[in-house]
């Protein structure tokens, strides 16, 4: 099995492990989940800047969501 195949398999196993462990959380039990720091995009400007820097300086790019426009930096 190639390194690439092993990586994908590991990720799939990780995902299945997490999903099988989940439980239903009622809306009134989400006080902690409602905190700002539990949002994936807590600071949109910091996230946009990070993505722009890594996009222009590394071979790989992109993360969650679709790609925006390009720039002359890459």
């Amino acid at each position: 099995m190639s390194f690439q195949s092993k990586s994908r398999l590991l990720l799939v196993m990780l995902v299945l492990g997490f999903v099988s462990a989940c439980q239903t959380v009622a809306p009134w039990e989400r006080e902690i989940l409602a905190k700002d720091e539990m949002a994936w995009t807590e600071d949109p400007l910091a996230q946009a800047l990070d993505q722009q820097v890594y996009f222009s300086k590394e071979g790989a790019s992109g993360g969650l969501g679709s790609a925006g426009g390009g720039c002359g930096c890459n």
Binding site: F3, Q4, S7, R8, L11, L14, V15, F18, V19, A21, C22, Q23, T24, V25, A26, P27, W28, E29, R30, E31, I32, L33, A34, K35, D36, E37, M38, A39, W40, T41, D43, P44, L45, A46, A48, L49, Q52, V53, Y54, K57, E58, G59, A60, S61, G62, G63, L64, G65, S66, A67, G68, G69, G70, C71, G72, N74
Partner: protein, 394 residues
């Protein structure tokens, strides 16, 4: 009525009160990409300075040009505003002013050591980017349309995207679908003088799917897959001998995990991305941070990011002038095998609806940290990034 039933009866109003508070707070929750309309207007400003390290041992490794690399000043603005009862508007603007030198080409000497040809330090450019999105919210779903554009004196990019978000299973599961299209046009400076392409374009089409799942009242996980197809002129017009395939198909698998540790009031965040593309470039990215409050209104968040990539199939340490232009080649360090380590520290001050944050990042890269090969590119990057941001909700 027995005693336990009485306790339950007397406790009911308090429980109901707590439940209402929790429900109100939860209504504003953003567990992932959210289908909840924002209830407040948010404004954010951010100023950053990005400074690349000069090339090491420049006297020995630079054939021509300056060892001093890019310095970029970045200013950003963000606005999110609810519109009516079902809509929200987002605006995002950024301006970058950059100066410094960048690699133009590379050669390998008789003992196999690489030397680079740099531009002069007089490159000056600026970039302005503006994007806006409009989102329509309904009970368990949201639709969003985004348009944007970016302008440099030699580069233009226009793009549009749509996003659909839907929540399932009592809002425990959130599914997000993204699609976008971008068209970029290049007009390189001094094209005729240096024999560069005079005008070229490229298109990018992108699709992404992600699922966010609440695992417990303190844990959320997110998984995603993204596909991007780029077509057109994908080479770097400023490099002396850079010929890349005119199609690039990129795949990425992502996973994220958020965990709130009640005992320390801390939030742990972990993210992983696996990337592979049709250039045979493969990359792993792992990021980890812990956010902890201190002294009532302050937060500190140390973080670490580890990145590893393999080289593209057509990467060459030195430019090959005897290879025909019909065959791909590039000595761009971004296509070489390398790894990088970022260390980050953020300190935030929060007071009511105001948040002020200072962030610092130190990025270092080495060939030996990469996934494969010993490319030893001398232009591998190190940089420092310092940012000051302010957010206000009203």
């Amino acid at each position: 009525m027995d005693r336990s039933a009485k306790r339950e009866h007397h406790g009911a109003p308090q429980d109901l009160g707590r439940a209402l508070v929790a429900l109100t707070t939860a209504a504003m929750a953003l567990p992932a990409f959210s289908v909840n309309q924002p209830t407040e207007t948010s404004v954010a400003l951010r100023s950053s300075v990005y400074q690349e390290d000069p090339i090491k041992n420049g006297d020995e490794t630079i054939l021509f040009g300056s060892a001093d690399r890019y310095k970029i000043k970045i200013n950003q603005f963000y606005l999110e505003r609810p519109v009516g009862s079902d809509w929200a508007l987002n605006l995002n603007y950024s301006n970058e002013a950059m100066s410094g030198a960048s690699p133009w080409g590379a050669s390998v000497d008789s003992v196999g050591d690489q030397q680079v040809i740099m531009s002069g330090a007089s490159i000056d450019d600026s970039r302005n980017k503006l994007e806006g999105s409009l989102t329509k919210y309904s009970d368990n779903a949201a639709w969003s349309l985004s348009v944007g554009g970016s302008r440099e004196h030699d580069y233009r990019s226009n793009y549009a995207g749509i996003r659909w978000i839907n929540e399932f299973f009592q809002k425990n599961t959130t599914l997000t679908l993204d699609a976008s299209y971008a068209r970029d046009t290049l007009n390189p400076t001094d094209a005729v003088l240096y024999g560069r392409v005079v005008k070229a374009s490229k298109q990018s089409r992108s699709l992404a799917l992600s699922v966010s799942q609440i695992l417990s009242r303190k844990q959320i996980v997110q998984m995603g897959y993204g596909l991007t197809k780029r077509a057109g002129f994908l080479s770097d017009p400023y490099k002396l001998r850079d010929v890349r395939p005119d199609n690039r198909i990129e795949h990425r698998l992502t996973a994220g995990y958020l965990h709130y540790v009640e005992a320390a009031a801390s939030r742990v965040r972990a993210e992983y991305r696996y990337y592979w593309d049709s250039y045979d470039l493969e990359a792993h990215t792992v990021e980890f941070s812990i956010l902890t409050p201190f002294l009532d209104r302050w937060e500190i968040e140390p973080g670490i990011r580890r990145y590893q990539q393999s080289s593209a199939s057509f990467f060459t340490l030195g430019d090959l002038y005897d290879r025909p232009l019909s065959l791909p080649q590039s000595s761009d360090f971004r296509l070489s095998a390398f790894g990088a380590l970022s260390t980050k520290l953020a300190i935030n001050y929060k007071r009511d609806a105001l948040k002020v944050g200072l962030q610092y990042e130190r990025y270092r890269s080495k060939p030996s940290w990469g996934l494969s090969g010993q490319d030893s590119h001398v232009a591998l990057l190190g940089y420092e990034l310092l940012s000051l941001g302010i957010q206000l909700k009203f």
